[in-house]
Symmetry: C2
Subunit: 399 residues, 2 copies
């Protein structure tokens, strides 16, 4: 049995995700698709629109065979750590290949870029350092350094595109791991891009879908952009929780936490650097809602995503010290499986190089306890009373 891996958030699952999963299977010729999926908090530094169990259901119903949780420490990290966690888990699962969507659409430019940066690592770092000194954001600095290095030559990946950047980090992570996992990419289809493969499948971004919902579009009306099964799952979640996750809903607890901690304590949380703790504290004093708060905290030095990641870590109490205590994933948390996925686990168990965890009670190291903690913090934010859900929800099975 050959497996192809994908790294996903499904926040929420939509037609573009369906296309990605189908293409990953087709391109790789694999017998099953394994998705490493973020948990309750996401890479953009946001609480998930809907909990990880609902998103697991969506994935299984759309044909994913195994859903593995990307631990909090990677799921909420900057691109390189996000990629490291994801690729390490796919590698540990014994995937022969992994497949990501990119604006580039071809794998060769990525391989060229990786080789270039590997061979000119010191030069690249010097360029980055120089760019950061001018006061621009880290992602922009990376990009400037890359442009300086490629110097207009053809054949390299365009690393100004967000999915290309992430894809590049996947390749880099695989290289650093010394993994033999084979990278594949498919052309990403977005809201403004018409791909012949998607006739009859209107695509909207997950961000667009969430924004539409929070502006008053009903779950029902979102069905143009999402599989019917995903709509059913969303409706069930809406019935259970009465609300979907967003910083607006989480803001009263975030604000209280910021005001309670004060600037001195805020510095200890992961990604909070260089005096921004005062700005965060002062802004929380004034701002009655999250958008106002963000408009006060934003600066050209930090992207919105970076600031939101700081806020996520403040909200959950995740410190620099914790962040620095992790290297590679220590377990594989199984969130869901299809019949094929179950069969894969039965046949390949011996090839899986990390402990396979089906019950939260078996998560007994700090990395695992943080995933349980993230669920507690998430459920508090959406005012759920089902705080034990992490322990009472077994892996979801779609036979």
């Amino acid at each position: 049995m050959k497996a192809v891996g994908i790294i996903v958030e499904y926040n929420p699952f939509h037609n573009g995700h369906l296309h990605h999963a189908q293409q990953a299977r087709a391109e790789s010729g694999a017998d099953l698709v394994i998705a490493v999926m973020s948990g309750q908090f996401l890479q953009r530094g946001e609480p998930a629109f809907v909990d990880k169990w609902t998103r697991t259901q969506m994935a299984l119903d759309a044909g994913i065979d195994l859903v593995i949780e990307l631990p909090y420490v990677y799921a909420t990290a900057q691109a390189s750590d996000f990629a490291k966690g994801g690729v390490a888990l796919l590698d540990a699962m014994g995937c022969e290949s992994f497949c990501f969507g990119s604006e580039q659409g071809q794998i060769t430019p990525f391989l060229n870029s990786l080789q270039l940066l590997t061979e000119h690592a010191a030069e690249y770092q010097a360029f980055i350092h120089e760019a950061i000194q001018t006061g621009i954001s880290y992602p922009k600095s990376l990009n400037n350094a890359y442009l300086a290095l490629t110097d207009g030559q053809a054949g390299f990946a365009d690393l100004t595109q967000p999915n290309n950047i992430l894809g590049f980090h996947y390749l880099e992570a695989a290289q650093r791991l010394g993994s033999s996992i084979k990278p594949l990419t498919i052309q990403r289809i977005g809201a403004n891009f018409h791909d012949p493969l998607t006739v009859g499948l209107p695509i909207a971004s997950a961000t667009g879908i969430r924004e539409a919902f929070f502006k008053g579009t009903s779950v029902e009306e979102l069905s143009t952009y999402m599989p019917e099964s995903s709509i059913s799952s969303l409706k069930m979640a809406e019935k259970e929780y009465g609300k979907f996750g967003s910083w607006e809903h989480f803001y009263p607890l975030l604000r209280f936490t910021i005001l309670r901690e004060g600037p001195e304590n805020l510095k200890q949380y992961a990604e909070v650097t260089e005096g921004i703790e005062n700005l965060i504290f002062q802004s929380a004093k004034t701002a009655d809602n999250f958008e106002n708060f963000m408009s006060l905290v934003k600066s050209k030095r930090y992207t919105r995503t970076r600031i939101q990641r700081m806020l996520t870590h403040i909200y959950t109490g995740f410190t620099w010290q914790m962040l620095h205590s992790f290297q590679l994933p220590s377990y594989i948390r199984l969130l869901g499986m299809s019949k094929t996925g179950k069969s894969f686990l039965n046949h390949k168990k011996k090839n899986i190089s990390l402990p396979l965890i089906s019950r939260a009670a078996d998560l007994n190291d700090l990395m695992g306890k943080l995933d349980i903690h993230a669920t507690t913090m998430y459920l508090q934010g959406i005012e759920s009373v089902q705080l034990k859900k992490e322990f009472t929800t077994p892996p979801i099975y779609r036979g």
Copy 2:
């Protein structure tokens, strides 16, 4: 001008408080009454029923001449530290006497008890230590030790009564300060006690009044037990905030904080001792409201008051380290004054031995910043949007 001091909470102000203030004036023969009053959190470890400004209004309208804030660090502390802060402030204000309500009603038994315990300090400590070893609460241990020492002899204060205990701590604090302030006491009149002085003044305890309100009694209906002016102030506060302070209202934020911090971090907060952090954490996981939470946390080792003080400090983020960094008050925060009070301040300014602070902006040491912080935390709990109130409210003047 002669001043008598009283140490109060006014949570809320009622007829018993009115009686106390009037008797203090009469017994002392003073020209004015100075009240040192707790701020937003109280000695029983609870958020105030109504904010300190409203309670200051009530005090002034009922004839108090100066209202001084008892800093958070003393207001939320065990009896001996509460007494130390209060008496030190009255002493610093230049009061000639202070007057407390007691079940005892006479000062001589207190003086006798103080002398006894001073002369047998080592023996007393040994008795306390012995009692604590049996697993009973600290207040109960104190009491057992005291009973062992007095051994049934007459002429000593009955330190099984709550107001006698507090009164004893006041005398002890004055002695330790080396203050020449003269102690006075009046017979405390309670809900079940009819005193000839209070004909026409029905008395209910502040606890009773709060409980009646939270069980559905309207502010209007409470007017039997409170001066008309206090009722007016309560009504204004009700209009402004829409709610009164109680742990039930504060519980969602308290619970989130407990769950976010986890047992290891909880240990750092003042009064949290000896493994109770696990019980607090586990109880917060389960309990959806404060009463359920308390029923899970209560034990014979700790009084409800003691546990509530731990919760107050967890809620505000007040640590053991902070607690241990304070000795005596470093400022006098003026909350309100009558015409007589203002005149006293003008004439006696040079006799006041601590900086007199009228504006929060002038509070610049840790003790003062904690008072500002306590207000922020309090206003978050009652969901007020007026977070700047600490800075925009000048001392209240009733001319």
